[in-house]
Subunit: 368 residues, 2 copies
């Protein structure tokens, strides 16, 4: 008796996990974190109206969710001024990125991203046999010219940009992003990941043109909406591309409770404005804490602050390890030169007080 015969592609794949979750780390450590600042979650939580909607939906959870996400798509279409057939709702941006890569990328197809950008996108590309090509960041920003140049050179199927950027927190102005869209080579699709865009200054997101076949944008309820655990993301793109998702998606994949929560959260614009303000305060607090100990916070248009620890990746990894040892969960970019930094989510004062208390000790230990 032997096991199943995997595909040759699957045989070639490693069993990777793009991110190790905080619960996994806690089990390994044998104790919980005091401050959960590593997963770019919204520590300010979901809208009370979303909470109420989800608690009501719990009683209806014996029903499958609406396979068309109809109400949520209508509401998103109205919010963005596009037709509903330009919106695809899915199981977080992660799930939607997986579908998109499956639609477009076959074995050997070229895909371009930045060295150190979102690992889960890379995971999907590799998982479908694509050939990943990476260009460096420039001054801690993603580099549209290099991305487009590489995509043109290779005839890439996809070129990925996150704006604002994860893991650096930096951002490009809308004009720069729009210029990148205009420069997308024929036959390439630009993947514009705007997971953090609601935290960014006005003028960060280019206007949405749902007729433009060169770009697909991704947004999420995991960040400003505080619904990471609900798994709701959406794509905005030209209708023919959105329609193609019907060929591969898990039609009944959405949690019914999550659909209700997202719909209620979208309508609670006062809550979202409040979270945005609180996140800005949190970022400022992280910056003050970092500077007080000789570290350099990068400007951020996200709900986290990437902090330059002032030395190399080995040093930043020691700082991170010492913070972990002191029950503070943070993460850091995976590759040089970005890996001189650690990445800390904005949170309420009591969570950042733990950071303020433990960072100097962690730094002393890392330096000693």
């Amino acid at each position: 008796m032997t096991g199943p015969r995997f595909t040759p592609l699957v045989d070639s794949l490693p069993a990777t996990v793009p991110f190790v979750g905080p619960e996994t780390l806690e089990r390994g450590r044998g104790r919980p974190f005091r401050a959960r600042l590593g997963a770019n979650e919204s520590l300010f939580g979901p809208s009370p109206k979303a909470v109420a909607a989800m608690q009501a939906a719990v009683r209806e959870v014996w029903k499958y969710g609406d396979a068309q996400n109809h109400e949520l798509r209508l509401a998103l279409a109205e919010a963005h001024g596009v037709a509903p057939d330009c919106i695809m709702v899915g199981e977080g941006i992660d799930g939607l990125l997986g579908y998109l890569v499956r639609l477009v990328v076959g074995p050997g197809d070229a895909v371009v991203t930045s060295e150190g950008a979102y690992p889960t996108f890379n995971y999907h590309v590799v998982g479908f046999g694509g050939a990943l090509h990476k260009v460096p960041y420039r001054d801690d920003h993603e580099d549209p010219d290099a991305l487009i140049g590489k995509a043109a050179e290779l005839g890439a199927k996809l070129v990925y940009l996150s704006n604002p950027d994860n893991p650096m927190g930096t951002w490009l102005p809308a004009g720069r992003v729009q210029a990148m869209i205009e420069a997308v080579p024929e036959g390439t699709l630009m993947v514009l990941d705007e997971a953090y865009v609601e935290f960014a200054p006005d003028g960060t997101a280019p206007a949405i043109d749902p007729e433009d076949p060169r770009v697909i944008r991704f947004r999420t309820f995991s960040k400003i909406h505080g619904l990471a655990g609900a798994r709701v993301g959406y794509a905005i793109a030209a209708a023919p591309l959105i329609a193609a998702f019907e060929k591969v998606r898990n039609h009944f994949g959405m949690c019914r409770i999550s659909q209700a929560g997202a719909l209620a959260s979208l309508a609670d614009t006062a809550w979202l404005a409040e979270v945005k303000a609180q996140v800005a305060e949190g970022r400022a607090m992280i910056a003050r804490i970092a500077e007080a100990h000789g570290l350099t916070p990068l400007p951020s248009a996200t709900n986290f602050v990437t902090v330059d620890c002032g030395a190399d990746g080995d040093f930043a990894r020691r700082v991170l390890a010492e913070l972990t040892e002191r029950d503070v969960f943070v993460r850091m970019p995976g590759v040089a030169p970005l890996d001189r930094c650690i990445r800390i989510a904005a949170g309420p004062e009591d969570q950042l007080a733990v950071l303020a208390e433990e960072l100097p000790k962690a730094l002393a230990a890392a330096r000693g």
Copy 2:
């Protein structure tokens, strides 16, 4: 400007939806159903303990769910007497079937199932370029000998059996299923879909041997647990096969609220026993209603009853259309000879009273 270049496989795929959801039908009709009996959901709802756990978890939904589903896997492992590394939790059986097909099926690979069996499995196989081969049901039961014969003849990668069966509600005794497992050809993996097994008589599920590499079993929280909208299913298989899911799954794909609900539901065995008893009553009531109007209920080991309308597929489709017209949502098998039947979920008395009221009118209309 052109759109993205899809893979040749994707270009060849239709935009299919394995099932049209009841909400979609309601929007098309412009009014809601009075009785929702078509999606094999549990009209008896989730355990009150699961409801409480989910309502509590709503407040923590700003956190991503545990990517390892650790607590739920431990509890499932204990419930089934297997090691946790023999359990994979995922976004419903539908989601897990998609991952499994991706792991095993490449373009042109043969897969064997029954003519009229689960459409979503077929959707995944076609979606990854597999070549579906179908054998007929025998006397409204899936036919293990024919399935195994066809799998051996073709060197199939997968052979699918649901026990109890959907859409017919029939079942095979454990000995028959175990004999099928023993006969699985070298290099074929048997997909044993046991979504409904908790409703079946004792002696329907073969003993679980987690060392056996010839079979992977699927179970779900969508049926007896009443959590269809939560999207929680799981696979039980040999550890090397379970480990392979790490290569392709969406690691942070599970809803945190759903994880909490499933864990609580699993522990509420009294509730599950009560649902099982109520479903048995509901099945008996459907059988009486059907017989009162000259129709033949098939014996069922599931939470639905498949009712032979006594003529051909066209007649059954008319009956279904007339029920729909009268606000009763039911479904039916898609192919002959199974399509002489309609399929009705067991529910509480008030829901089945609607069926009792409308079925004779629908039959009269379909006959006239």
